[in-house]
Symmetry: C3
Subunit: 209 residues, 3 copies
């Protein structure tokens, strides 16, 4: 059955794959490299979550749709990077959409697997930021998800809404929608108005390594 | 039993470990660091594959032979790096051999674990390129397997031969041999004649990050 | 029951999280980024070990204490980085403590899971150095655990003590204490007196990549 959950999941996959492809294009990878980074950005968070809850093979590998969707996003970006880039700061916008969708879906799946609410939120955060971390590690840069204005913390808020609703026995679907929307709004406002958490300031003159 | 499959597997392990050791030497790691990168380059793809299909502990950890083989390659390279380097561009040649061997073996193992042909080819590609990705992530550079001439795509071709033979119920052994050979030839010709997939060109003046 | 094993485990978690937070601070991540790197540095080795032996969900996720401890270390470092930095080279000292504790605990857990002594020592090394690798990969640098004076090799020694005691049917607790102490002393002396393994010297003029 093609439930609304599936649709959200596939939309998030497409959004993250676009983000991965955009970063890979800037690194001047070849076509296949762009597809690998697209697939990793789209699925690494969910794959890590599934491995950690013992749900192997991960759904992103067992179900061929994820590969198709990520590849479509990668090929589209490869051909029409100009179009994808033309939107102002498209990587961040695509990231924000995927972030909210994946954080709530990951939290819900971990709860369904019997994890505690706290652990489920952790796995929700991982589902949300794992793709971005994989994308940035594969392109040899410090993951922006660890520095960006309210990124991982927005995922935390989205996941927490789902976990709290679960504890209170509230219906799951509206909680997921509310969590994803809240996460997206937080992240989007943070980009637009420069909201951010306190940032570490180096206290020594030592170089970073 | 020491089957031909085992021999191929061990030869691929040695080849990838040499490639890992060579890169680690250039980063001026210490002896143990060289051994860790050798082992990671030799086994990370297979370990990731085993974790993803739920076959834990991964064979590369459960079977001590892989550690012995990777360590032998690492120590040999550490002592005689001059010899290993003297061959023209040895990293790429060793990589090409291991790539073909691991891509077909990974695809075959995933098929045996009951995955669909598409997922099995994905895991074959991961088996082939996972070691190179681990090697390059551990030495803080963009994985060459995502930029190099027909690298991951050669693994795809090798794995696809095995998967197609499986779908057509053709015998496995010759399909694996053909797949590995085709992958190696593709990759070797790509190095020699500069064959490559289309490469992304940055479309904006934004810096990569 | 709050056994001495649990106390050692939690102390190691705190030590590694401090090390992760210190590196993250130098990269000027935001508060949440510092917490993520703290948690990764504290738990990545143990999580990888648990995934590899099929013990999912990993204890570091299932048990909320690890998150609390790592977060406490991260927040403390975030607020009082000056204090943490004032100790001479705190990252290395914290690393040394955590290294010994995690190497022996990881080896013991792998032995309990039925792995061979060799594989158990490998997983002990991974438990010890996995957090440091995650910390450094997340901050885009070559893992210091692969270059530092007797780092991974000290973990090997600590794990080997536990594995050998297991083979000889000696009692586990004193072997773990001895292994952790030996690992710490080796590493600490290496820092203090510059002990090190042979270091690779590049034999060509090729750039590292």
């Amino acid at each position: 059955m093609f439930s609304w959950f599936t649709i959200i999941d596939y939309a998030g996959t497409f959004a993250f794959a676009l983000s991965g492809a955009t970063v890979a294009m800037r690194r001047e990878l070849d076509l296949f490299g762009v597809l690998v980074v697209s697939f990793a950005a789209a699925t690494a968070g969910g794959i890590a979550r599934d491995v950690l809850i013992g749900a192997t093979p991960p759904v992103a590998l067992a179900n061929g749709h994820y590969l198709l969707i990520a590849s479509a996003a990668g090929i589209f970006t490869f051909i029409r990077a100009d179009l994808v880039e033309k939107l102002s700061n498209p990587v961040q916008v695509f990231d924000s959409v995927g972030l909210g969708l994946f954080a709530v879906a990951g939290t819900a799946k971990a709860l369904a697997a019997g994890l505690t609410p706290t652990s489920a939120v952790l796995l929700g955060i991982l589902s949300g930021i794992g793709g971005g971390i994989a994308r940035d590690v594969l392109t040899a840069r410090v993951p922006v998800v660890l520095k960006s204005d309210l990124y991982a913390s927005a995922a935390l808020v989205g996941g927490a809404v789902v976990a709290i609703a679960n504890v209170l026995a509230l219906p799951r679907a509206p909680a997921m929608f509310a969590g994803a929307a809240l996460c997206f709004v937080l992240r989007y406002m943070a980009i637009r108005y420069g909201w951010h958490l306190p940032v570490a300031r180096a206290t020594s003159n030592d170089p970073p390594d």
